[in-house]
């Protein structure tokens, strides 16, 4: 069935928003990567004193991207995605404190842990839809948080897990005090993660997931199992979220209970929708916008920040349903028309 199905899906992709027929595909494909690399390096030179914040933003972008794989491509509304992020972060943190300290191995540990928890919980809860599913994802994340809180000996409970001291990357680049290595390491992981994620969502399985989002009945009629597709994509996204968690643990050196918290899941969703779903690079745009504004506004008064983000969200929903990333698609025709 995959041949027939992916064929059908491929023909459909031409109508999807991310493809712009005006430019050759190789250019549109390379553009996000180039922009990310150039922008990332430019930020490295421009804000040498804010590298800690910038590193957090990069790790969060990877996390939001993994949420996009679930929400944007599969249509699974989840408010418990932090469960995977936190599991990855704690797994990497615990392994780093007790056994190995090679950063790449820690990323792998985080990815495996995130993927496993996503696979286990996804298989359990993805039969549900709508509000029921939303509640189940919240409940799973809350239980993971409660377990992390109770297992004090391993996770440090509410004090957080500290003492993560990663070895140099590839044995060459030591993590320095100014966070330069952390930042560049995170940037590299994000770009590689973006390329791999894009390959995955364009694979037959990724296209089938999009099919499930649009019309689960039809996928079932074609002989596919909607639930199996959703669970596998949920697990893959869990791997990415786990890697993002491990990346945060490695670069910041601590893991707290808030990395599994409800508000972290909700914030990720807000970032994703600000940037625009179903594009992957929208996740990066949304994360950068959200966290940068948060950094500026919340330093004065958290309630100013809430007022601003609340109004901003309502504005996006009412006037720009596709998110910031859809701006170009909306503005370009206007520019062309004016010429």
């Amino acid at each position: 069935m995959t041949a027939v199905e992916s064929d059908k899906m491929t023909t459909n992709t031409s109508t999807l928003p991310h493809s712009r027929p005006a430019l050759p595909r190789i250019v549109t494909d390379a553009m996000p990567v180039v922009v990310m690399a150039v922008g990332g390096l430019a930020a490295f030179w421009l804000f040498p004193n804010d590298l800690g914040l910038l590193t957090r933003i990069l790790a969060a972008a990877l996390f939001v991207m993994s949420l996009d794989m679930v929400l944007g491509y599969c249509g699974i509304a989840t408010l418990g995605h932090a469960a995977m992020f936190g599991t990855g972060a704690y797994a990497a943190g615990i392994v780093a404190v007790n056994w190995v300290s090679d950063p790449l191995a820690l990323l792998a540990v985080g990815g495996v842990a995130g993927g496993l928890i996503a696979l286990a919980t996804g298989a359990l809860i993805l039969h549900a839809r709508g509000l029921t599913l939303l509640m189940l994802t919240i409940a799973v994340a809350q239980i993971v948080q409660e377990v992390a809180n109770k297992a004090r000996d391993w996770t440090g409970g509410s004090d957080g897990l500290s003492g993560i001291d990663p070895a140099p990357v590839l044995g060459l680049f030591r993590f320095d005090l100014y966070g330069r290595t952390s930042y560049l390491f995170a940037l590299a992981v994000l770009i590689v993660g973006f390329l791999v994620a894009r390959r995955i969502v364009r694979s037959p399985c990724g296209l089938a997931c999009r099919g499930v989002r649009e019309e689960p009945l039809r996928i079932a009629a074609l002989g596919g199992s909607p639930r199996r597709y959703l669970v596998s994509m949920y697990a893959v996204a869990g791997v990415f979220a786990g890697i993002a968690g491990a990346l945060t643990a490695i670069t910041s050196g601590i893991v707290g209970l808030d990395s599994v918290g409800f508000s972290w899941s909700a914030e990720a969703m807000i970032m994703l929708v600000l940037g625009g779903t179903g594009r992957l690079y929208g996740a990066v745009i949304g994360t950068v916008a959200f966290m940068a504004i948060h950094h500026i506004l919340a330093s004065t008064d958290p309630f100013h920040w809430m007022l601003f983000i609340g109004l901003f969200l309502m504005g996006i929903v009412l006037f720009l349903p596709g998110g910031i990333a859809s701006l170009s698609a909306r503005v370009l025709p206007l520019v062309k028309g004016g010429r």
């Binding site: 509304a77 509000l131 239980i143 809430m306």
Partner: protein, 289 residues
């Protein structure tokens, strides 16, 4: 035995508050298919208004309650017209979640600006502060009052939905909005009235439950998961489902906190997962949300 009795009284009172607030959410979700995350914010706003009316203006408790409910309903009706009407229907789930989260943030910021970040109380009248003797046992009057109000709400809603022409039209619109509109039912007005009903219930629950769910600016975010859980377990649009769900979850949560206080909310969420496994559409087969 004392503990069991205490858990039962507190659990049922807590459940009744959850019911009063959540049933409004359930009705709007059942009819308009809108996941209104700002519902908790409406309850919180009403609590603050009542607190202001009672503490600063010195109104009696009953009057403060009525004033808070009326003011909240009047203040939120324009929101229905301006915001909610654009996102009705189940196709817009994500937009609903985001718009109402945004609205919640704005309300939280506004409440903090107007009333400050400290905990607010609504002083109870003397009538409600003592204890009530029931044969060998006695229970706090406030708990008894809350339980009574909850029971009265269940009965009043049942009467409203089953015995009045408003209820008939509302049920018709829930079952098939297009057909109801074709038959001459003015669904827009019906939506507005239902929204007002839902908000009014949230407001009432927010004021009555101020002792159990303390009023502070993060109330709106902290408890909305609780209210959504009740709706998911009860089944959207079902009154008795909401009541059963609210009482079950209220008693489970209270029992967990009394018996094994170290485990926080663990039991609540574990119960939630188990129940949603057995009844994925809620106790009373609510309409798909």
């Amino acid at each position: 035995m004392e503990t069991v009795f205490g858990i039962a009284v507190d659990g049922v009172a807590y459940g009744m508050i959850l019911f009063i607030i959540s049933v409004g959410l359930s009705v709007t979700l059942g009819l308009m298919r809108v996941v209104n995350l700002a519902h908790g914010a409406f309850a919180m706003a009403a609590g603050y208004v009542a607190s202001y009316a009672a503490q600063t203006m010195g109104l009696p408790y009953g009057l403060a309650l009525v004033a808070a409910v009326l003011l909240t309903v009047v203040a939120t009706l324009p929101l229905e017209k301006l915001l909610y009407r654009r996102i009705y229907g189940s196709a817009n789930e994500l937009r609903q979640v985001l718009l109402t989260i945004g609205l919640t943030f704005v309300i939280v910021a506004g409440i903090n600006y107007l009333f400050g970040p400290t905990l607010k109380r609504i002083p109870l009248p003397e009538m409600l502060t003592g204890t009530l003797d029931l044969g060998p046992k006695s229970i706090p009057t406030h708990r008894a009052f809350v339980i009574g109000m909850g029971a009265a709400t269940i009965l009043a809603l049942w009467w409203l939905l089953e015995r009045t022409s408003f209820g008939i039209r509302l049920r018709a619109a829930v079952d098939d909005p297009a057909m109801a509109a074709a038959l001459g039912i003015r669904t827009e007005r019906l939506y507005m009235a239902t929204f007002a009903l839902g908000t009014g219930l949230a407001a009432m629950g927010g004021v009555l439950g101020a002792e159990l769910l303390p009023l502070e600016p993060y109330y709106a975010i902290r408890y909305i998961v609780l209210f959504l859980a009740v709706v998911a377990v009860g089944g959207a649009g079902s009154i008795f489902g909401s009541a059963a769900a609210a009482l079950t979850l209220g008693v489970v949560d209270t029992a967990g906190k009394y018996l094994i206080p170290n485990f926080g909310e663990f039991f609540f969420y574990a119960a939630l997962i188990l129940i949603l496994f057995r009844w994925p559409h809620g106790f009373f087969q609510g309409r798909a949300a």
